[in-house]
């Protein structure tokens, strides 16, 4: 093993039944580098991470660390070897405090079986959190924190185990621009201390910014490793996908004259948002941009009747409406594809067909009984149109990749023939290929006359699909931009006007 190599993957192979998740994958991680691993969903990244973390073991092949070979790990051993994996689904303990979560492995003090003194615990936790450069109340219960703060606690927890290799799986998915910058600063300082970072992300612009080298995995196979500064995002995408993908093309339009489908006036629900007024036309894609926590999701949930607003008016096709439940919203032709599909969208005990048809079942039934034939016809049609990759519609929905699950939920709403579709972070945790497909589908939906409202923190995404962009900050609308005048800088300015961290 070379002087500089801290970890080597050696011909790692893993099968799950008949599916080959990893096929003889070999590459090296150098000491003190930030090494990105990219690949479409289903490429094998998660399996690789699970092997690193000791959750599963390879069928053949091994990991090489410090001259020793390891083909059988478990989570404890993995951590003791200096490998710490921070998963995308955070593994924090809600009812415990930030301090307790950070030091969960290290609570024992001088007397065995007894926890360190509170003061000492707080000190230790504070040291780590200060390193991360953000304000967190150490006493606060983790379950009360926002997702972005939870992620920071998760990273602090990993740091408390003094890792040699820190693996981060989609770490920035819920972080603000500032918090991401902080994270990158931390990554850089960790590198200087000789810690290697394995950075798994779908956000290629971030990969380009922070990583030293990038390894691409496709369909379980190792495709190649390149030096980040010697490559381009397009080149990486091509390696990931094996074909050229037109991901981000800018739109260039002025607001058209299509009929106003949805009009919102002075909508208020303290403390989430106040005095929101806007209109959405059929045939256009209207995006809501802003930092995490700006109230966009709550606004969407209010329009959808899930969390009705306290004051203000909503007009659909010119008629004033009182939307006090999702059923009321659906009856008006409004649909909501929520963020966090695992929590809010996917019913994991059901198959693809059932997940797709669930919102439109009453229309597929006679005398209260489901017409199986109609249901199958409808579901198969959408599987086709949306290009949902699944063996059959009877497949358990959890077997699908993230991008395809998202398409299933999208199909759920398209089946209800919405006139207004609100999508919240539509490509969260979705791979490049499916991302482009979803963008195309949203545009096509708009072209059919639907008013498409997109909530997104992914600025390139916002730029490429929107006709208009509304920016929110801490519950208020701070500005509107036409696609002909929009830019990432302008959006960020409107999103952060007057804010600190």
């Amino acid at each position: 093993m070379g002087e500089n190599v801290v970890l080597k993957f050696s011909e790692i192979t893993k099968h799950f039944g008949g599916v080959t998740a990893l096929n003889s994958v070999s590459f090296e991680i150098l000491k003190g580098e930030c090494h990105a691993v990219v690949g479409e969903n289903g490429a094998g990244k998660t399996t690789l991470l699970n092997i690193l973390g000791g959750d599963i073991n390879p069928d053949t092949g091994f990991l090489e660390l410090g001259g020793e070979h390891f083909d059988q790990l478990d989570p404890r051993k993995s951590i003791s070897l200096g490998i710490n994996v921070i998963h995308q689904e955070l593994a924090l303990i809600g009812p415990l405090s930030v301090t307790e979560n950070i030091l969960i492995e290290n609570l024992e003090g001088k007397y065995p079986g007894f926890v360190k003194k509170q003061g000492k615990l707080k000190q230790a936790a504070k040291r780590i959190v200060d390193m991360l450069g953000c304000e967190i109340d150490l006493e606060e219960l983790v379950e009360n924190l926002s997702t972005s703060k939870k992620q920071i606690v998760e990273i602090a927890k990993a740091l408390s185990t003094n890792p040699k290799i820190l693996v981060m799986d989609e770490p920035t998915s819920s972080l603000t621009q500032n918090e991401t910058e902080n994270l990158f600063n931390i990554i850089n300082s960790l590198k200087k201390r000789g810690i290697s970072i394995i950075f798994v992300s779908h956000r290629l612009n971030e990969v380009k910014k922070i990583s030293d080298r990038v390894t691409v995995i496709r369909d379980g196979n190792y495709i190649g490793t390149v030096k980040t500064e010697e490559t381009t995002i397009d080149a990486i995408i091509r390696m990931m996908v094996g074909r050229k993908v037109e991901l981000y093309q800018k739109r260039n339009s002025q607001e058209g004259e299509n009929p106003v489908v949805l009009e919102v006036q002075n909508l208020t629900r303290e403390p989430y948002f106040r005095d929101i007024s806007f209109h959405a036309r059929g045939g256009e894609v209207l995006s809501f941009s802003g930092l995490v926590g700006s109230g966009r999701t709550e606004l969407a949930e209010s329009i959808f009747g899930f969390l009705p607003a306290v004051s203000g008016e909503i007009h659909v096709f010119g008629k004033s409406c009182h939307i006090d439940s999702p059923q009321a919203a659906m009856a008006l032709g409004i649909g909501l594809l929520p963020e966090d599909r695992k929590i809010n969208g996917v019913i994991d005990t059901m198959v693809v067909r059932e997940n797709t048809s669930i919102a439109v079942l009453p229309k597929l039934s006679k005398f209260g009984f489901v017409n199986k034939r109609e249901e199958n016809k409808l579901v198969k049609r959408f599987v086709n149109v949306l290009n949902i990759k699944t063996q059959t519609v009877e497949e358990s929905v959890t077997n699908l990749s993230g991008g395809n699950q998202q398409k299933v939920i999208l199909a759920r709403w398209l089946a209800t023939q919405v006139k207004v579709l609100i999508v919240d972070e539509p490509t969260q945790g979705v791979d490049v290929g499916a991302k482009a497909e979803i963008h195309k589908l949203l545009r096509e939906l708009a072209d059919q006359g639907v008013a498409v409202i997109v909530i997104s923190s992914d600025l390139p995404e916002v730029l490429s699909i929107s006709d208009r962009v509304l920016v929110m900050q801490v519950g208020k609308l701070t500005g509107e931009l036409q696609s002909s005048e929009v830019s990432e800088e302008k959006i960020m300015t409107l999103a952060t006007v007057g804010l600190n961290c």
Binding site: L336, G368, T416
Partner: protein, 320 residues
């Protein structure tokens, strides 16, 4: 590709059907038929089925409830109350049997409605609410009974519990009809699908436009009404409404539903599976009697069976 798809979905269906339960029942019956010459006699088999009817009928509602993510610990008490209300209405108020039955079923409906209001509006766990109702309903049963069991003098009600159609006990026919209706409803109706959705992911179900509170209310009402009906059948079987009827039966019913493949987390389960679960326990109890085993052994063994069933179920659903 299409042939492959059909094969995959078939495998999926086979894996999903908890064949383990059916195998367990068959094995159990085989064992008992070897251990006792009386087991396979027509008489005995029908006796076993008769003993199942109370938990069998109640389990149809309980299955739906558990699938939706809820629980009702008060069904045992409702069985007692159903029979008692019927008997009291007839004996003390001179009400016609038909109206007495309607009265008892209405009491069931109201109890279910009441529980659902507390669960829906106050967001209190159904376990706790129904634990309380267990005592409340039993209390009302004692109250109405005024301290003694009440004889059933109506031939119609007696027929419910003791009558025969040919060689088959009428109560068994009733149970099978209810099971079939319940199974068809759960599997093929829109409401049935929505019950599964709510149990699978309540938040997602709500966001998909399902009226969760209303569906839940229906399920609680159905459960209590069926329990009340089972109590009427029980009173008919014994010839009198007993103050203690149904005591402890809620555990049998819940166990049957879990053995049958339902998950306490919700989203899974089947009415037929629950019936098989009830049968497994009924056959076990029958076996104890035929083999002359002590009552204490019965109680311990039933408990062990329940634990085994839950363990087997969690192993079957794989590592999560």
């Amino acid at each position: 590709m299409e042939k492959n798809a059909v094969f995959v979905s078939l495998i999926g269906k086979i894996r999903k059907t908890n064949w383990g339960v059916y195998v367990a029942l068959v094995v159990e019956c085989l064992l008992l038929s070897l251990l006792s010459p009386y087991f396979l006699s027509v008489n005995n088999l029908f006796n076993v089925m008769k003993s199942l009817t109370f938990s069998g009928i109640t389990s149809v509602g309980m299955t739906m409830l558990i699938i939706s993510g809820g629980l009702d610990l008060s069904v045992g008490s409702m069985i007692g109350l159903g029979g008692m209300v019927t008997a009291a209405l007839m004996e003390k108020l001179g009400v016609y049997p038909l109206f007495a039955v309607i009265g008892a079923l209405s009491v069931g409906a109201f109890s279910g409605f009441f529980i659902s209001v507390i669960v829906n509006k106050l967001k209190i766990n159904s376990f706790i609410v129904t634990l309380g109702m267990l005592s409340v309903l039993r209390g009302f049963t004692y109250l109405i009974s005024e301290g003694s069991n009440i004889f059933i003098n109506s031939d119609a009600i007696i027929f419910l519990g003791q009558g025969y159609v040919g060689k088959v006990p009428f109560s068994v026919i009733l149970m099978l009809i209810i099971v079939i209706i319940g199974a068809l409803f759960l599997r093929f109706s829109v409401l049935g699908r929505q019950i599964y959705a709510i149990g699978g992911n309540e938040r997602a179900a709500r966001l998909a436009g399902i009226q969760v509170d209303e569906v839940r209310m229906i399920v609680f009402i159905v459960t209590s009404v069926l329990a009340s009906f089972a109590g009427i059948v029980a009173a008919g079987t014994l010839g009198s409404a007993e103050m203690t009827a149904g005591t402890g039966l809620e555990l049998d019913v819940i166990a049957a539903v879990i053995i049958g493949g339902a998950s306490l987390k919700g989203g899974k389960g089947s009415v037929v599976g629950s019936l098989v679960g009830a049968a497994i326990m009924g056959v076990l109890r029958n076996g104890f009697i035929l083999l002359g085993l002590q009552y204490e052994a019965q109680v311990i063994s039933i408990g062990l069976v329940i634990i085994l069933a839950v363990v087997f179920d969690s192993l079957r659903s794989g590592k999560r």
